[in-house]
């Protein structure tokens, strides 16, 4: 059998399509095995449409048994498998493999069990993020991580990406809100990580699974933690005449010992883009606005809003507005949540970045991005999960203009490089996927990358789950390094080069 290797990407060109389809056919209802080009087309990309590829086949599993059977066949035939939920990912993590199978879990969308007393829900991987909170709402509970795509994205994908959202500063990421994951190894063997208690013996494989981008195992069931819904919430919209001041205000709120339920920042181009779209009531004169939320009991919220207002005023906010009712609070947030579609409205295409930096570097990063706009001749609008230092610069471009996509990619790579140089990371919540695989060579040395490959091999020795994503081969980094030699320092000197 082929073995996964850190050195080289594997070559799967010898996969026999006819033999694969013949082996898959008996495993699934006819309608659940797609292999004609027009049926495969909807699966050619995920939320990052700049990269497209047709797989050999798409298998739509309705049960764990079907998924296991598909995996076992692919394992036997040495065929790569890319697991897929709703396909809303933004890093090309579900980009098909040209010689592989896409295993869709979207039909497994049943909430198996919801226990309001134990405050947990057992759900299949294709259940939408928001559907869990909707099902829990009658019990005064909800599922805390709320990525902006929560109306569509599935819990299986959330586990793969360790998704966050605007409230994760206070309530944590997926890794903090999942108790148990049931899955299948590439060989089709069922495996469980975690349980319905608060810890499990042995190494923490649950933590390792979350955010592993479909490279370690295929998720077939997830137990999520449900959180009591706060009695009330209020949000402050604070305007600033200077982005640096807004950045400093973010640090000042934290320094005052406050963990807001949400702390978001939008720059002037971002508010200008969303305001005509949602009429959120943003101050369009401001260079930057902060959305600063408090939740809890009415007394607690009143106390915290008072403290946050004082801090923001002390940092030079030019205007402070506090939501006076739930409708207004949701309107303030609607603008933030609509940033991506609004970007799509004002530009033919946009490219969303996801670097995370220490909060104290927000101002420095914004200044650098402004300079990059001039350098690359492209506009960029900025929305940040400021409380976590997680940036979502949206670079606006037009794919039909020759050279713009290339300039956009170079712009994005420079933002990511700066994120790493400032002590941060190339991806806070969207994942590496296919998109940022070269930037991984900036963030990690070859010994760490080799360690990642050994971790992968511990779960998937044959290297068939989502190959070519998330962790680059050393060969790829050497090639990338040849294009981008950093200050004359050759980063992967021990690799043979072509």
């Amino acid at each position: 059998m082929r073995q996964h290797s850190a050195e080289q990407d594997q070559d799967f060109s010898s996969v026999n399509r006819a033999a694969l389809l013949a082996a898959l056919r008996p495993l699934l209802p006819v309608a659940n095995l797609l292999h004609e080009a027009e049926d495969l087309k909807p699966y050619e990309c995920d939320g990052l449409s700049a990269y497209r590829e047709l797989p050999l086949a798409v298998a739509l599993a309705e049960t764990e048994e079907q998924a296991a059977a598909v995996l076992a066949v692919c394992h036997k035939l040495g065929v790569p498998v890319v697991a897929r939920g709703a396909g809303t990912g933004l890093s090309g993590g579900a980009l098909p493999h040209a010689h592989g199978v896409v295993l869709s879990l979207a039909k497994m969308k049943r909430i198996v069990h919801l226990d309001p007393v134990a405050r947990l829900a057992v759900v299949q991987p294709g259940v939408r993020n928001l559907a869990i909170s909707e099902a829990a709402a009658p019990f005064g509970l909800y599922y805390a991580p709320d990525p902006s795509s929560q109306i569509a994205c599935t819990i299986g994908g959330n586990v793969a990406e360790n998704s966050g959202g605007v409230h994760c500063l206070k309530y944590g990421l997926t890794v903090h809100n999942v108790l148990r994951v049931r899955g299948l190894t590439m060989a089709g063997e069922a495996v469980e990580f975690g349980n319905h208690a608060l810890d499990a013996p042995g190494y923490d494989l649950l933590a390792l699974m979350i955010g592993s981008e479909g490279l370690l195992a295929v998720v077939t069931e997830v137990t999520v933690k449900l959180t009591p819904k706060p009695q009330t919430a209020q949000v402050i919209m604070a305007s600033f005449d200077d982005v640096m001041k807004a950045g400093e205000a973010v640090a000042a709120v934290i320094a005052a010992g406050i963990i807001p339920a949400g702390l978001e920042m939008m720059d002037k181009p971002a508010t200008a883009a969303v305001e005509p779209f949602v009429n959120a009531g943003y101050n369009l004169e401001a260079e930057a606005i902060l959305l600063c939320e408090s939740d809890g009991t009415p007394e607690e919220v009143a106390e915290e809003i008072g403290r946050m207002t004082a801090v923001l005023e002390g940092c030079g906010a030019t205007e402070i507005r506090v939501s006076s009712n739930e409708a207004e609070r949701l309107r303030f947030w609607a603008g933030r949540k609509a940033a991506f579609p609004a970007a799509g409205r004002i530009s033919a295409d946009y490219y969303c970045m996801d670097g995370t930096i220490p909060r104290k570097c927000l101002g420095e990063m914004l200044t650098a991005i402004t300079a990059m706009e001039k350098k690359y001749g492209l506009r960029c609008i900025n929305v940040f999960h400021a409380g976590d230092g997680n940036l979502h610069p949206l670079i606006l471009y037009d794919a039909n203009v020759p050279g713009e996509l290339e300039r956009t990619e170079a712009f994005g790579a420079e933002i990511l490089k700066l994120s790493v140089d400032l002590g941060g990371t190339i991806t806070g919540e969207h994942g590496v996927g296919f998109e940022k695989i070269n930037s991984m060579c900036d963030q990690f040395e070859s010994e760490e990358l080799k360690a990642f490959h050994r971790v992968k091999a511990a779960f998937d020795p044959a290297g068939l789950l989502n190959p070519g994503k998330a962790v680059p081969s050393l060969h790829r980094c050497a090639e990338y390094g040849r294009m981008h030699v950093h200050g004359g320092h050759l980063k992967f000197p021990d690799i043979e080069r072509f």
Binding site: D115, P116, V117, G140, G164, C168, V175, H176, T185, V191, E192, F193, N195, H196, A197, L198, D199, A200, P201, G202, Y203, D204, L205, A207, L208, G211, L216, P228, K229, P230, A251, A255, G257, G296, T297, E300, E303, T356, P358, D388, G389, G423, G424, T425, I426, T427, G428, E429, V432, Q443, E447, A451, F452, R454, V455, A457, A458, F459, P461, A470
Partner: protein, 356 residues
Amino acid sequence: METLLTDWAEQIRAAGATGRKLRLSGGGSKDFYGNALAGEVFDTRGYAGILDYEPTELVVTARCGTPLAALEKTLAEQGQFLAFEPPHFGAATLGGAVAAGLSGPRRAAVGSLRDFVLGIKIIDGEGRILSFGGQVMKNVAGYDVSRLLAGSLGTLGLIAEVSLKVLPLPVAEASLRFELPEDKALEAMNRWAGQPLPISATCWQGNVLTLRLSGAAAAVSSARQTLGGEELTETEAQAFWLGLREQTADFFADSEPGDPLWRLSLPSVAGHVELPGRQLMEWGGSLRWWRTGAEAGQVRAVAEKLGGTASLFRGGDKSEGVFHPLAPVNLAIQRRLKQAFDPKGVFNPGRMYSGL
């Protein structure tokens, strides 16, 4: 101090080359925990000190040998703390606390030690110095090796440096006490946990339920009104929660001959545990400590039937392994992970499971 790590890496490589085994040790405060100790002591206390701490970033990075008490003192001076309240059990070091992965009374409310780990630097069994994660709250670049190392009992690598998320100290706290039998206490803890109450710790023993409220002054005061009960004085409360966290309370300390301490990790809604002996519950019912002389097989079977696991925490017969047995597929993955980081089996042989 940086050369110390490269020296250690060299010593680890040399140990691997000659088949020697090393027992990684900080303050030795958790020597009682895990399977029998084996290997030559490798003292990690020489690599100590806080490397980076900016309170507004809510992150601290420190070396493994930093005394946990010194780290907590530095945080407290800035009005911050390690919210998972790691037990010290003596002269604990940061590296040892992360390797043990244990969390204290606040765990059910705020998360466990591993939830607060953001980044790590290790020396693996081949003497490679590796860094994973970072100093930022959100980071999904590469597998989450930092959290894998938390609770690995030093079997995968020497934890040299750790970055942890820290939180502001609660503005207000209050502790309440209720007379309640076990079933009523379990029912109450689960019911309250489903409501937006600022409960930060619970403990039930001998028909007394004690709970702690933490948060904004207004939230603590309104919850105190809602819940009722008898309030502890501040001194009583501090002594009570410290005794629980450090296991100096009578339940843990007054050892009766032949009664080892078992740690049962169960769903919070699991009912009465049918065992001889005495019980103390924490974490809203998810953690049940038992002083019992029952056979290991019986304790484990009871825990499994209730959907959880049982580990022998202190005392008793360690020969069969103290941790709950793993499913074969999990054990196989864990053995391969051990191979990935420590193929020569240099570190803490058998401390967690035989072969790991």
